[in-house]
């Protein structure tokens, strides 16, 4: 059964539409991420589910019940706040026990549940500590324990790892995933970090300007972005302008402005004719000097274009090439540094870029703005 269902949920702040008529279903026991840039409405959505923000219109269902008008303290959800929001006047034990005490659970039961929970989050014996004696990572665990100990139907997490340093962050991502599997509770996780979302989630909703751009399994969203925004926000991608030439059975042909015609599964075209943008991920492209005719026996893909190397950047594990096509479009390619054969192609070299039709996706020509301009440069080569 669906644990959470949002129906045309909307939130207006004065002039701005923070959340714009979104519909969503999250199944029981899922690790679900709301991913988007800051200001996209993901935190507002979470706060409406938690009951801290009243929707302007629309409805929220929890396990089938309409909770839209239920105050936060009557909802069977708990939240891990971005700033942790631990009570500084209470020790760790009493922070974790806070919710159970309000629910009038009996003392012996509270003690047992709190202690079990402290073990689960790896804080056994920390009960009498004061909050200001705990490190950031430990406070994070206390916040998690304080929410989970109430056994909510859904746990809401609002960028809970945002304040931690990178190493601790990676460790806590695995930890959170482990805990989620162990307790089997539905997690709704808000983040602006696409890697974090992909690493942890069963399903992801990519949000932009108060709307969902795409909702789906992490792999599907990465492999087949539905919009230019998703393609740019979730990982790096190359987008090339083209015109649909027509379909031949399940395969369609698109003439690229860069000069060649490529193929892709027809079902992936957003429109049957006219202009589209063709996408391909940088790690899916093979690069070789023009006219070298491949040489190897491996199939390097039937889609190919001519280009010229602008910059090559050696990053140890891989080399990334920034190339420009004949029409001036930019294409980024990642090449794993496997051995001596991968001699760097010098800037200025003419190259042939090729990839498989099944690694090709297409988005609408005039769809929303491309997401995350930073993605190409700082998130590169992390496959």
């Amino acid at each position: 059964m669906a644990e959470i269902r949002l129906e045309k949920l909307t939130k207006e702040f004065k002039e701005t539409l923070a959340v714009d008529h979104i519909d969503l279903v999250v199944e029981e026991g899922q690790f679900f991420s709301l991913l988007g840039p800051s200001g996209c409405g993901k935190t507002t959505t979470l706060r409406m589910i938690g009951g801290f923000e009243d929707p302007s219109s629309g409805a929220i269902y929890l396990g089938g019940d309409d909770v839209t008008d239920l105050p936060a303290y009557k909802r069977n959800v708990n939240t891990v706040f971005q700033s942790y929001a631990l009570f500084p006047h209470l020790d760790v034990y009493n922070n974790v026990a806070y919710g159970l005490k309000r629910k009038k659970v009996d003392q012996a039961d509270i003690k047992k549940r709190v202690e079990d929970m402290l073990v689960l989050v790896d804080l056994e014996g920390y009960g009498p500590r004061r909050i200001n004696q705990m490190s950031g990572g430990q406070q994070q665990r206390v916040a998690l324990a304080r929410a989970l100990v109430n056994r909510p139907a859904v746990l809401l997490l609002d960028e809970p790892l945002g304040a931690l340093d990178l190493k601790l962050r990676n460790q806590m991502q695995l930890e959170l995933k482990r805990i989620q599997r162990e307790v089997g509770i539905t997690f709704i996780y808000v983040t602006h970090d696409q890697e974090e979302a992909m690493r942890m989630s069963d399903r992801i909703a990519v949000m932009n300007a108060g709307r969902f751009e795409q909702v789906g399994a992490a792999q599907d969203v990465y492999k087949l972005p539905a919009t230019a925004f998703v393609a740019g926000f979730l990982g790096a991608s190359n987008l090339l302008d083209g015109e649909v030439e027509g379909a031949d059975g399940s395969s369609a042909k698109v003439a690229l402005a860069a000069g060649s015609t490529i193929a892709l599964p027809a079902a992936r075209l957003p429109n049957e004719r006219g202009s589209v943008r063709i996408g391909v991920r940088p790690e899916k492209i093979f690069i070789e000097a023009a006219g070298s005719s491949g040489g190897g026996t491996e199939n390097r893909g039937d889609n190919a274009i001519e280009a010229m190397v602008d910059i090559s950047i050696y990053t140890g594990v891989s080399t990334s090439y920034e190339c420009s096509t004949t029409d001036g479009s930019k294409v980024v390619v990642y090449v794993q540094n496997m051995g001596a054969s991968a001699d760097a192609l010098a800037p200025g070299s003419k190259v042939r870029l090729s990839w498989h039709p099944e690694h090709t996706f297409a988005v609408e020509k005039n769809s929303s703005t491309e997401g995350g301009d930073n993605e190409m440069s700082d998130r590169g080569g992390t496959t």
């Binding site: 105050p71 936060a72 303290y73 706040f81 929001a85 009570f87 006047h89 806070y98 309000r102």
Partner: protein, 285 residues
């Protein structure tokens, strides 16, 4: 660098020296002098002699017990009323003040731009038998002609409350402003309604402000004599008035000194008990 900082350095001590000297000359020495005076006998014309005459204390306690306990009672009432008046005000400014927080704080402090005595004299005008307030009400026959506020404890208390309100409001504001508002979200998330969230989170976290505000209000209010002087009558004489009279009119320095130390002792004990009740850890943490 780290090693150097661990070595003994005279600088911090030199920095505290001016303040320490000032307090020694103008606070500690006079305190001991007055303490010694409180055990002296004699009169102003022939001079006072130290005889260890502790009866000064029992004498003033029996003679001025009414005024002493009245002052403590007034102090308590003033503290409680200012607390009740300023808490919602400080809360509102801290939470809802928005961009205008500083403006509201300025408004609270504005009366301080005029001297204490002038402000109290203004209250005397306001509370007068034929003032704007009472005169108007009497004119509408809502109050009998003989009704008066001046020279009653109501007048003294309202003057004290007015004058000491900011001393309570500002520490409360600081404590409430420092509180992370997401703690209230956390409390409601954990099944507390608004009332429980206030009692379990906001109130405990504002206790340092309540404590500081109470001290800043209670101590000067108990020892105040201006309000009783200007707004009160024979039945509202406070211990401050008595001490002032002993020193300035009666020229009985030993009894004045004994009364002062008696008052100080009572306040110190009271504050100590109060701190125990509120929990000192809250105040330092």
């Amino acid at each position: 660098m780290a090693r150097r900082s661990r070595r003994w350095s005279p600088v911090p001590y030199l920095l505290t020296l001016p303040g320490a000297l000032w307090l020694t000359v103008f606070f500690i020495v006079p305190m001991f002098t007055m303490f010694s005076v409180s055990f002296q006998e004699g009169n102003f014309e022939e001079g006072f002699v130290f005889t260890g005459y502790w009866q000064n204390y029992t004498n003033v306690l029996t003679r001025y017990d009414t005024q002493l306990f009245r002052s403590l009672a007034y102090g308590l009432i003033v503290t409680l009323v200012t607390l009740c008046l300023s808490y919602p005000m400080a809360y509102w400014i801290a939470r809802r003040g928005g961009k205008n927080k500083n403006l509201f704080l300025l408004l609270i402090l504005l009366p301080f731009f005029t001297p204490f005595i002038i402000r109290t004299l203004a209250w005397k005008q306001l509370l007068g038998d034929n003032s704007i307030i009472l005169g108007t009400l009497k004119g509408w026959n809502l109050l009998p002609e003989s009704y008066q506020v001046l020279a009653t404890s109501t007048a003294v208390l309202s003057g004290l409350i007015y004058n000491f309100l900011p001393f309570m409001a500002l520490p409360l504001y600081v404590a409430l402003e420092r509180m992370d508002p997401s703690l209230l979200d956390a409390a409601t998330d954990l099944y507390s309604n608004r009332r429980q969230a206030f009692l379990r989170v906001t109130l405990p976290l504002s206790l340092p402000g309540v404590f500081a505000g109470s001290l800043l209000t209670f101590i000067p209010a108990v020892g105040d004599f201006i309000n009783a002087d200007l707004l009160g009558g024979v039945n509202t004489v406070m211990i401050g008035n008595v001490i002032q009279r002993e020193f300035v009119t009666n020229l009985d320095y030993p009894e004045g000194a004994a009364l002062s130390f008696l008052l100080m002792g009572m306040i110190v004990i009271g504050v100590f008990l109060y701190a125990r009740v509120l929990g000192t850890e809250e105040l330092t943490g």
